[in-house]
Symmetry: C2
Subunit: 291 residues, 2 copies
Amino acid sequence: MNMTRYLAEKRKTIEKALDSYLPPASRKPTTIHQAMRYSIFGGGKRIRPILTLASAEAVGGESEVALPIACAIELIHTYSLIHDDLPAMDNDDLRRGKPTAHKAFGEAVAILVGDALLTEAFRLIATKNFRAKIKAGTVLKIIGEIATACGSSGMVGGQVVDIESTGLKLKPAKLEYLHLHKTADLIRVSVTSGGRVGGGTSQHLSALSTYGRTVGLAFQITDDIQDFDSKQDIGTTLGEKKASYPVVLGMSESKRRATELIDQAIYSLRGFDEKADPLRGIARYIRTRKQ
Amino acid sequence: MNMTRYLAEKRKTIEKALDSYLPPASRKPTTIHQAMRYSIFGGGKRIRPILTLASAEAVGGESEVALPIACAIELIHTYSLIHDDLPAMDNDDLRRGKPTAHKAFGEAVAILVGDALLTEAFRLIATKNFRAKIKAGTVLKIIGEIATACGSSGMVGGQVVDIESTGLKLKPAKLEYLHLHKTADLIRVSVTSGGRVGGGTSQHLSALSTYGRTVGLAFQITDDIQDFDSKQDIGTTLGEKKASYPVVLGMSESKRRATELIDQAIYSLRGFDEKADPLRGIARYIRTRKQ
């Protein structure tokens, strides 16, 4: 299958849905609604929501039914980027070549836009009727899993450890813990919630959980590798770097680990038929996209 | 009935439940879990969760079943205070006589603690089975209503308008809009979600919505009055003040408006029997507590 075309098509579907779900920029107070749209439509590959749709399809479900959950996950991902970019955190001025939310709207509004997107994510999932195709109890389970993946023992917990580790020399196990929570937890739940909404069995969900965790970690490693390369180019010193795989494990070991994780991810799908080909393709895409 | 005793008893029930629901301070990463507990157990009257329990009782339900929702609302209230206190917002060093979260744990952790508490609130509601006494569909409705009340068209929207209005001379209608969203929306949903979980009819819920809105606005006005008085004492000039009722309407008109709203709140409960006496008592308590 043509992965480039698949990703482009799904991305278009997701952006259309995001546009229809988000409050219009004209709604009062306009500042916050404009800022929400500025942040959501600031580019991005939409990998997480695409994984949700692809996982729903992999277990034999309709990806369209999974759209509200896929979009909610993208709202959560965007909120986490806005808060990570704040002066008190990574203090980044640019995100995907555009001013970050706090540069464009001020720090107070940026904090509130993050808060609003996180809240809107749960509102979106709770208020869609999913064309009556999913039981309310299943939707509650998904909300619980997403909140667990994003909370103090998940994504937010990982971000805390990341902040506390800046400038420290980490051991590999601690680094893996950090990225497992900061990055992989949200990717894993993008996958499992897609599988759940698509009607997957508990066997499906267990396999998808392994796929999500391994792909999520591999995603972070390839990100670190690219980041390391670009910082070498602009001459950042080692001390300025945040905890990353190339710094802790070295470049060749980082690449080996990414390849190993992608192999594990693809192997975890051995019980799935060709409907899981997009998931297999995304795993391969993550390995090759940046190295 | 003895309101002081009622409030003290309910407060104790809520704090015990909060203690049992929140992750232990020893859970990794410990920084975030310690900071969550520091912020949640930093005092506070627990008026919002008490309103949830009292509303469940008012419609003939068991207040115990409403505890997870009541506590979730307190988590949301606490997250909003932590983010409001940040340097980029109100820049407050003290909250209830103790250092604010960013003073105690640093700004980055304070932002993340707010994020974690908001996420935990939805996790709490979604993962409790409510002793099988509430339908999953009803729980979803409650999540949707809470998210709507707290999001970009509710509490967060009100906070944006508050920030944009600082130093400006507001018209009374704009001030009421601001406080309706910043303060009253969360109080209203504390009341209506209690009524919903207690099995209230749509007539009940409509009356409770009026009660919550009027009590919520009255709560903000009496808060503004107390704040104005204390700032007069320490000599804050008018220009430093945020938009408030005494500044916009004058003191005597503010007191008249608070009384009028409390009367409306009590009148809205005319179809309820003596089980709504705690709600009536809380309304009177709000009027008298600070003037």
